[in-house]
Assembly symmetry: C2
Homo-oligomer: 367 residues x 2
């Protein structure tokens, strides 16, 4: 018997195994070998793809999110084009305020959420969410994906569930929509801390239940998106955002029967890196506000990192994409790294740019 | 003769002296003693003041900017209410694209700049700016202020000139207005580097000439606002923004007959702190993305810091403002510090909040 057969083979890892191994370092004792870092892209299913726009032309956004077959189809679209190692459920962070009984409308200027919550009574009047009932469409879409990923594609893929972080969702609900900053939320939190706390708690518990349901449905990892927390000062981040994300992660691990890695995304993370890492997540999805090497230096050694290519490079000369990818992997190291963008793909991105990025990762070989 | 008469007295510093001493550390060898940190606030003249809205109701924004008597009056308004140590000229960063011949309109959704520049020829067709002629109204307003500040107020005040940084102005001109990110600018810089470079150079040289004129008109310091550079990755900041700011500062010091301290403001500075400090500025105006103590730790010891209170606290309970101010000064140290906000005052700010902030600084005594 040759010794080489005792070594796990890394040359033909299927994409799902590659994805799971890259995230495993924080959960298991030893880091399993990996051939190259896995790659997926935030908003990889979306408007930059003609096949998405075609489907979107025939269905409303809510129809696509709530119909398991449509959500599954949209999730698969980018994986038919590109050798991505993981799929992320096509859904939206605003399914949480929707389940809580608010009216969520997708308009041209961004989503609009009504009615505005202004008293603790408004919060206690929100609907009680039963995740199995109210997010049944999420479970069904994920179960469908778990079956269809290996069936429709060449090799199984990682499957990622997600939800918005309590701060970002609470901010959306208090503001009634997006905002260029979170001044209104900060003012409400200062003047009506009981309103802020009551709402954040309701949101956090609903988010945890949603993520637990996703774990039960078979995802390999979950990502918590705190898109707006980067507008907060470090003090406010530690007061208004981080404790609620910690609560989500704690409750998720209490409820779910399997332990899956938690990826935590924070936009404008440069000033909040250590505090975001301390929420109990297993790895951070890092935006472009910081060099990935600097993030590595500041974070615990066993955390994985995800990120942090600038989506703008996908709109520039194609020949500059490969060097950017190689530069990222050399800077971050190829272990405990998931190649991704610093923020979501924009509708203006040319599909060839995405192809060049994914190809650069799949062709990556360590020197 | 008593020894105490040999020590410079700090108990009755006039506001202008206090302001200038706080900034002097980087320019002079010794740090002169100071009784307390000076305070001024970004956008201290503006819509949160009823007397501003009253004047604005009778004049267009451009009229107010271009009429020295009106600009002087608006600049003085907050100083009549609050014991601020410095005045900042009421003006706008978009006077530079205006002087370059573009049409700048102030609309409800933000300024609109036309025509859009898309070729190097568009850039070479921009008007040649003669600062003395085209910014004569700036010089006149500053000269008027230099006279009126000690005449109308109790004790002279510091006087600050300002301009937009080349990156922020170039971004405005390429986008034609504000944007929630700078994706278009990054895409243009990647695909048309010659357009980006030509425009940034024209802008940088015009900004330097404008600042030199402000120095000649008697300001005690200038501030360069790079509001949008914080949307860039550290790599792009060092490529697209920092070199042009350096060019401005170098050219300013070449042209101006007096050496005044340069304050550099960067929004979302947490990831760019060292690079921003290396542009040749004398001090950084720090936004809320980072703790001021952390900024002190990372920056050269002789730099002054300005900032970084969150304007949101001015909308919360008044009794929490004093402790926030004291906390800032203890964290930053009272030397080489100018108390300010992390970003501009918003129209929603109650004037009593501003009063409480300024009072907390003026009553500050070192323990």
């Amino acid at each position: 018997m040759q010794t080489s057969t005792n070594t796990p083979t890394t040359s033909q890892l299927d994409p799902r195994a590659r994805f799971c191994r890259a995230l495993a370092s924080s959960v298991t004792e030893t880091t399993p070998p990996i051939d190259r870092p896995p790659v997926w892209l935030m908003r990889q299913a979306g408007r930059y793809l003609p096949e998405y726009r075609e489907l979107r032309g025939r269905h409303s956004f809510w129809e696509m999110v709530r119909t398991p077959e449509l959500a599954c189809e949209v999730t698969l679209q980018p994986l038919r084009r590109y050798a991505l190692d993981a799929a992320i459920l096509f859904s939206d962070i605003l399914i949480v305020p929707d389940a809580l009984g608010l009216d969520v409308e997708y308009a041209a200027g961004g989503p609009r959420i009504r009615p505005l919550l202004r008293t603790p009574r408004d919060v206690s009047n929100l609907l009680r969410v039963d995740a199995e009932r109210d997010f049944a469409y999420v479970r069904q879409a994920l179960e469908l994906l778990r079956r269809e990923l290996p069936r429709q594609l060449d090799g199984d893929r990682g499957l990622i569930g997600f939800a918005g972080a309590p701060f970002t969702l609470t901010a959306y609900m208090l503001q009634g929509g997006p905002s260029k900053n979170v001044d209104e939320v900060k003012a409400l939190a200062l003047n009506h801390p009981e309103l802020y706390g009551a709402l954040a708690e309701r949101v956090a518990d609903t988010v945890a239940d949603l993520l637990a349901l996703q774990v039960e449905a078979g995802v390999d990892a979950v990502q918590i998106f705190d898109t707006w927390a980067g507008h907060l000062s470090p003090e406010d981040y530690e007061r208004l955002a981080a404790p609620w994300t910690s609560r989500v992660i704690e409750r998720l691990h209490d409820r779910a029967t399997r332990r899956v890695p938690v990826i935590h995304y924070l936009r404008n993370c440069a000033g909040h890196l250590e505090a975001a890492a301390a929420t109990g997540c297993d790895g951070l999805s890092v935006d472009t506000s910081i060099r990935i090497k600097e993030a590595r230096r500041r974070l615990p050694n066993n955390m994985f990192l995800q990120g942090n290519l600038d989506p703008a490079i996908l709109r520039g000369p194609l020949e500059e994409i490969g060097p950017a990818v190689t530069g990222l992997i050399s800077a971050a190291g190829s272990e405990r790294l998931i190649v991704n963008l610093g923020q979501g793909l924009t509708p203006e991105t040319p599909p060839e740019g995405v192809a060049a990025l994914v190809e650069a990762v799949t062709h990556y070989r360590q020197c």
